[in-house]
């Protein structure tokens, strides 16, 4: 079942915006129409997404929740271009990314998106700052500039003091902060977060969500989160619930 959601106003905590700013900010950045995705698992075809439609506004913070296997990570992967779709349209800021070839899709991600994963996915062989500067290095930023901006990003997540430590030397919460710094270092329009607090204790999880809220508010970056944690879902502007490959409800903050 598809559910078309209307544009929603910014969250209450956002600072007051001028009418022009509001008009600029409240444009649709993510638009899904009838997205279908299936895959084979153990010889059986699984319908992961059954005609999902969704719109997300620029600067919005959206949480996607649902039981395990309901298709929320698949939805996130399809929206971010990490996974292909069988049919439908995935439009990011007006670009139908399903039509892009792999090279262009990858470049698009590098320039416009950031990613946060439950298991951090930091490279153990690089220090925190080296991990953070990876998206810049890949986009051809020179080494000095990349280092400056990476340190700046670490500063924003309050982890500059650990810049030269390897992931193995950091706590779970610190690793996730590094991941967040990496996701915002290239100043992307959208940050995708797949279970960003899944591996953290409740206090650390709360800190991480607060950090994401701050970044969302201060930099008008769109956050799309997949989570099992209802408390986190309630702190987002919108909470989308999924079941069996379809969006079944939405709640607004």
């Amino acid at each position: 079942m598809a559910l078309m959601l209307e544009r929603q106003p910014r969250v209450e905590s956002a600072p007051a915006l001028t009418p022009v700013e509001k008009a600029t900010r409240q444009s649709t950045i993510i638009e899904l129409q009838d997205v279908v995705k299936s895959y084979r698992s153990g010889g059986v075809e699984v319908q992961a997404l059954r005609g999902v439609s969704l719109q997300v506004q620029r600067g919005e913070m959206v949480a996607i929740m649902g039981a395990s296997g309901c298709g929320k990570t698949t939805l996130l992967n399809c929206m971010s271009g990490l996974d292909s779709i069988d049919s439908g349209v995935v439009s990011i800021d007006g670009t139908d990314i399903a039509t892009l070839n792999d090279k262009k899709k990858t470049s698009y991600r590098a320039q416009n998106m950031g990613f946060i994963f439950q298991t951090y996915n930091l490279l153990p062989v690089l220090s925190a700052v080296e991990n953070v500067e990876l998206p810049l290095v890949v986009s051809g930023t020179n080494a000095g500039e990349a280092r400056r901006r990476a340190l700046e990003a670490l500063e924003r997540v309050d982890l500059a003091v650990k810049a030269n430590q390897r992931p193995a030397q950091l706590s779970g919460g610190q690793r996730q902060r590094v991941t967040i710094a990496r996701s915002i270092v290239n100043n992307p329009a959208i940050v995708w977060a797949d279970e960003p607090t899944g591996a953290l204790d409740s206090k650390t999880a709360n800190d991480i969500v607060t950090l994401m809220e701050t970044l969302n508010r201060d930099h008008n970056q769109t956050f799309v989160l997949v989570t099992h944690d209802a408390a986190i879902g309630k702190r987002c502007h919108r909470l989308v619930r999924m079941s069996d490959g379809s969006i079944v409800s939405e709640e607004r903050a």
Binding site: S68, T73, T74, N77, S80, L82, D83, D102, K103, T106, S107, R109, A110, Q111, G114, F115, F117, Q118, T119, N121, L123, P124, V125, L126, E130, L134, P135, V137, V138, S139, G140, N142, A143, G144, E145, A168, R182, D194
Partner: protein, 1080 residues
């Protein structure tokens, strides 16, 4: 081949079978007593798909190399044995009245034919003797008018058809026995080789030239090359040869056939030889043979040849095994690494198994079971491939590149060799697997289950375990085991505190032992001076001294010890040290260890070369480019002087140039920067794995480069234009048709080539019973060695040069003039490994030596003279042509009588090439039996055989490269699996699939390149030291680097390495991003 390293092959085989059986029994015991662990091990086998091929490849290499070594020995043994039987047939013993070294003699003594009948009467009842075979073998010239081909020298072999027929006769080419009744007075059975040379067939009439007489003989059949057919000649009636060569009633060979046929007759050779010898040495025997005063011996020719086959095969097998040691050592590292990686893959499973109650020994059992299963399969494949490799290398490659000289080689392998190789390979692998299993089974359960790094966790100090202490005391009967039980298990002493003191103690003892001198002193000193700092560093490492500083210092020290152009140990100990081939092995290991330590602890510096800094993207490449030019400039400035420093500067220029090119590429292609960053970061994150792989590459490349550089320099020294004395052609005439004056003979037949002759110099040929020894020591044995008379023209020739001259002589010319004019002086040849080199040791230093006296003697007449050696003749001609003590005509005449100048050196003008000149001379004098050869061709033919051997050894050593290449493949495949999620992340944040693939390729490139470059640098510097200050410093060889060998080899090694990582890199690029990121 019956023994190796002095140990019976049967003993070796049964010992290895026993070790193999112990391994199989151990796994069988596991299968019976702990089925679960056994099955757990076996069921892991099919889990890895493609990688199973790599694991099997890694495990089979030790077996492959040992099998190839033994198969080579078998092939050589079989081939020489076969050719011995083929050539000698029923000739087991030879009554030798030709002098000590009859085989090399061109003179001949003769016995009356009646002596054979007398010998038969004397030994008629001998249970071992089947008969006597008399021969008269004489060199003559032959011509086939039908084909218009001629041969200046073939051997006419006079045979007695009745005796020969009773003892096997002659074998027709194509099968069947030759009908000896066809041997009429003018009939000849031509040997296969001579028939080919003359293009002769049955029915042809040949002209035989002896002196001024000609005889016509009819070919009645073509027979196999063998002693009876003259090998390269033909068999005729004894009486016919006696008549043609003017030796009526004489024979010059009497061979003895023993009972037992061709292949079963040598058992009693020694006993019969003694019996016959004691008879022929008595007065009656001497008078029978009609040789006055000449020494007569009975030689066990067939047995000697078979023993030589065995010895040669043993030598080659040992040499191959020694060369293969580098590869086997690398293979052991690879096996170890494979199991460490297999364990890393299963860390969580192992942690879980331990959590639910499995003992560490259970994990060992599981790994050992799995390893043995791999091992048995890999061993069989390795043995099969080893046989194939040996056949390809020895039979295929050597015959293809070495030409006729190696045509006798026939592929062969014995079951015993296969059993030894298989058991040896499997045992080496099994022991390595067991050791690796012990290491990998030591997991921290919590870390393993949670997937955390073990890094930083140190085992807490435990209390003393008195049971282990007691066991350790008892186990001290096997010291390593006792030490392990007592100190490690019993008193919980850390390994560093066990190994370091032992290392220091052993090192100290080795240094003290070295100070005492002896043949191994250099090895002991070098080992001691290496092991002490390594042991101390191990201890410092335990106390967490900065690893980078510590191991870099140790690496730099080892590099300095081995690569500085002087022997540090000799400087410290103040004594001269002696070493041999074992130094090559130790040098390889230590140089590789030093470079590997320096690289893995400092390679991160390389990443700074590839990072784009603000505003100056081309700064680093520019600086490196300038440094490259500076090195090239220095190379040009030094040139070939200053102990080849120029060559080394070119090597450094190549290295810096490579870094400059890479840095430039990173600046020009921004996408390269992230791949380069990761390509260096990942290998350096796992120093053990990376270091092992670099060491594998480095060790093999080091050995190949060292071997290449050494052999290329020796090759260069034995070829080229200098050292031919300025002569173009050398002619040799046979004793039945002596030509003393070649220019006159050519003029007599109006040969056009006469006009092109500028100069000639004549020398005598080697006569087998000449004897020489150093005059200073009467206790020394006499050695049969050529004494060569040169005529005035030979010594006066302008282009004759010397390798060395005695002190007191300012110029080569002064030496040559002294020898020409004074019978008290002599020259010697400078041929390597000749009897002179071995027995007299001129000990050349800076091309000068103290003059020394030798005595030359004719053992028949007992006349002798003492001459003073004042020069070493420079010549690159083969030893059989040039070797000898050179005296003037008058010195020679006093001892040996009037010389026959049967060898003539000719200098031609520029109107004709030497090879054409030689052909024209031979054609003009073919009926005189003169053989002529272009000197440059002789030199290059000799060098070609050396090259063929060297290439074969290099090809064999290259096998070891597959160890490194396999290691790269294993690492690349594992990396893709291990880092699947990280690949997904990189792709998510914007790494293109091509960049991901490039990252993996660059990782492998980094490892391979570091290994290859460090091997090249180490090999070149060690080889340079050998020629400038080491073992070959006195050879007078100008050191140079064979770039055209080194560069293609290194490029090929790198290319194949990258080819191996292409598949896993492609897999990495194709990892579906969303799937890779899943963690449920």
């Amino acid at each position: 081949m019956d023994s190796l390293f002095g140990i019976s092959m049967d003993v070796i085989m049964w010992a290895l079978v026993a070790i193999f059986a112990v391994g199989v029994a151990a796994v069988g015991y596991i299968a019976v007593t702990n089925r679960t662990m056994f099955k757990m091990g076996l069921r892991n086998l099919p889990r890895r798909g493609l990688q199973i091929g790599l694991v099997v490849m890694g495990l089979m290499l030790a077996t492959l190399i040992t099998t190839a070594s033994f198969t080579t020995g078998d092939t050589v043994d079989h081939s020489i044995t076969k050719i011995t039987y083929d050539m000698l047939q029923r000739s087991d013993l030879a009554i030798n009245f030709q002098g000590e070294d009859a085989a090399e003699s061109t003179a001949s003594n003769y016995a009356p034919e009646s002596a054979v009948t007398a010998l038969e009467s004397e030994f008629v009842g001998d249970a071992d003797i089947d008969g006597f075979l008399p021969f008269l073998q004489e060199p003559v010239s032959a011509q086939n008018p039908r084909s218009r081909l001629s041969e200046p020298s073939i051997v006419l072999s006079g045979v007695d058809p009745e005796r020969l027929g009773r003892l096997g006769g002659l074998r027709l080419v194509g099968g069947g026995a030759a009908d000896l009744s066809l041997l009429a007075s003018n009939a000849i059975f031509l040997s296969d080789t001579t028939a080919d040379d003359l293009d002769a067939v049955a029915g042809d009439t040949l002209t035989i030239f002896v002196g001024t007489t000609q005889s016509e003989v009819t070919v009645v059949g073509i027979v196999e090359d063998e002693f009876a057919s003259g090998v390269a000649g033909g068999a005729m009636l004894l009486s016919s040869v006696q008549s043609i060569t003017n030796h009526p009633g004489q024979v010059n060979h009497i061979n003895i056939a023993l009972k037992g046929g061709v292949r079963g007759s040598v058992t009693n050779s020694d006993a019969v030889a003694l019996r016959v010898q004691s008879f022929v040495r008595e007065d009656q025997g001497w008078s029978l043979l009609g040789i006055d005063g000449a020494e007569v011996t009975v030689d066990t020719i067939k047995q000697d040849a078979l023993e030589e086959a065995q010895a040669t095969a043993g030598l080659i097998t040992s040499f191959f095994l020694l060369l293969g040691l580098f590869s086997i050592a690398s293979g052991v590292m690879l096996i170890f690494m494979i199991f460490v990686m297999l364990a890393a893959e299963r860390k969580a499973e192992m942690g879980m198994a331990r959590a639910v109650g499995a003992q560490r020994s259970n994990l060992v059992q599981s790994f050992v079971s799995e390893g043995m299963a791999y091992n048995l399969i890999a061993g069989a494949i390795g043995a099969a491939l080893g046989v194939a490799v040996a056949f390809i290398l020895v039979v295929g490659f050597l015959r293809w590149s070495g030409g006729e000289e190696f045509a006798f080689l026939e592929a062969n392998v014995t079951m015993r060799s296969l059993i030894i190789s298989y058991c040896l390979g499997v045992s080496i692998t099994f022991v390595t697997v067991v050791m690796a299993s012990f290491k990998v089974s030591n997991v921290n359960i919590v870390s393993a289950i949670r997937g955390l790094d073990d890094e930083g966790q140190r085992e807490a100090r435990r209390k003393t375990n008195w049971k282990w202490v007691a066991a350790g005391v008892i186990a001290m009967i096997v010291p390593p085991l006792g030490i392990w039980f007592l100190f490690c298990k019993g008193f919980s002493v850390p390994w560093a505190w066990i190994l370091a003191p032992i290392g220091v103690a052993i090192g100290g003892l080795a240094i003290l032992g070295a100070k005492g001198g002896g043949s191994m002193s250099e090895f002991l000193a070098a080992f001691g001076f290496a092991i002490v700092p390594l042991s101390l560093a191990m201890l410092a490492s335990y106390y967490r001294v900065n690893g980078r500083v510590l191991w870099t210092v140790v690496g730099a020290y080892l590099a300095a010890y081995w690569l500085l152009p002087f022997n540090i140990a000799e400087e410290i100990l103040g004594t001269e040290l002696q070493g041999d081939l074992e130094m090559f092995l130790l040098a390889g290991i230590m140089v590789v260890l030093s470079f590997t330590l320096i690289i893995i602890f400092n390679a991160k510096l390389l990443t700074t070369l590839f990072q784009r800094r603000s505003g100056s993207a081309y700064l680093v490449p520019s600086v490196l480019g300038l440094a490259t030019l500076a090195c090239v400039g220095a190379g040009i400035a030094f040139g070939d002087s200053a102990d080849s420093v120029g060559q080394v500067m070119y090597l450094f220029a190549a290295l810096v140039g490579l870094a400059a090119a890479t840095s430039l590429a990173a600046a020009r292609v921004p996408q390269l920067a992230p791949a380069l960053k990761m390509g260096v970061a990942y290998p350096l994150a796992n120093r053990f794995r990376t270091g092992m792989t670099i060491a594998m590459f480095s060790l093999i490349v080091f050995s190949i480069v060292t071997f290449s550089v050494v052999s290329a320099n020796f090759n260069a020294a034995t070829t080229g234009s200098s050292g031919d004395g300025g002569w173009d052609v050398v002619t040799t005439s046979n004793r039945n048709n002596p030509v003393q004056d070649v220019p006159q003979a050519l003029s007599d037949v109006n040969a056009e080539i006469s006009a092109a002759i500028v100069d000639t110099g004549r020398v005598t040929l080697f006569i087998g019973n000449q004897q020489v020894r150093r005059s200073t020591d009467d206790a020394l044995d006499w050695n049969t060695y050529p004494v060569i008379a040169g005529d005035d023209a030979f010594f006066a020739a302008e282009d004759v040069t010397l390798d060395g001259r005695a002190t007191g002589y300012e110029t080569d010319r002064a030496v040559l003039d002294a020898v020409r004019s004074d019978k008290k002086f002599a020259l010697v040849d400078g041929a390597d490994w000749g009897p002179y080199d071995i027995l007299m040791n001129p000990n050349l230093t800076d091309d000068t030596f103290e003059p020394f006296e030798v005595t030359i003697k004719d053992p028949v007449s007992e006349k002798s003279a003492t001459v003073t050696v004042i020069g070493v003749l420079a010549s690159k001609l083969p030893g059989e042509v040039v070797s000898g003590v050179y005296v003037n005509e008058s010195a020679y005449t006093e001892v040996f009588g009037t010389p026959d100048f049967l060898r003539t050196y000719i200098r031609l003008d520029d109107s004709i090439k030497p090879v054409d000149g030689a052909r024209d001379v031979e054609a003009a004098l073919s009926t005189h039996g003169v053989q002529a050869e272009g000197i440059s061709e002789l030199i290059s033919e000799s060098a070609a055989q050396d090259r063929a051997f060297n290439r074969m050894f290099q090809a064999f050593m290259t096998l070891g490269l597959f160890v490194g290449i396999t290691a790269l493949g294993v690492i690349a495949f594992r990396s893709v699996v291990e880092r699947r999620q990280q690949i997904g992340m990189l792709r998510a944040i914007g790494y293109q699939s091509s960049t991901v693939a490039l990252t993996f390729v660059l990782e492998s490139t980094f490892i391979a390149l570091m290994g290859i470059l460090s091997g090249v640098v180490g090999g070149v510097l060690i080889a340079r030291n050998l020629f400038t200050t080491g073992q070959f410093a006195g050879e007078g060889i100008e050191f140079s680097l064979p770039w055209m060998e080194i560069l293609p080899f290194t490029a090929a090694a790198l290319f194949v390495s990258l080819l191996m990582t292409w598949l896993p890199s492609r897999n990495a690029a194709r990892v579906p991003v969303a799937d890779a990121l899943r963690y449920e």
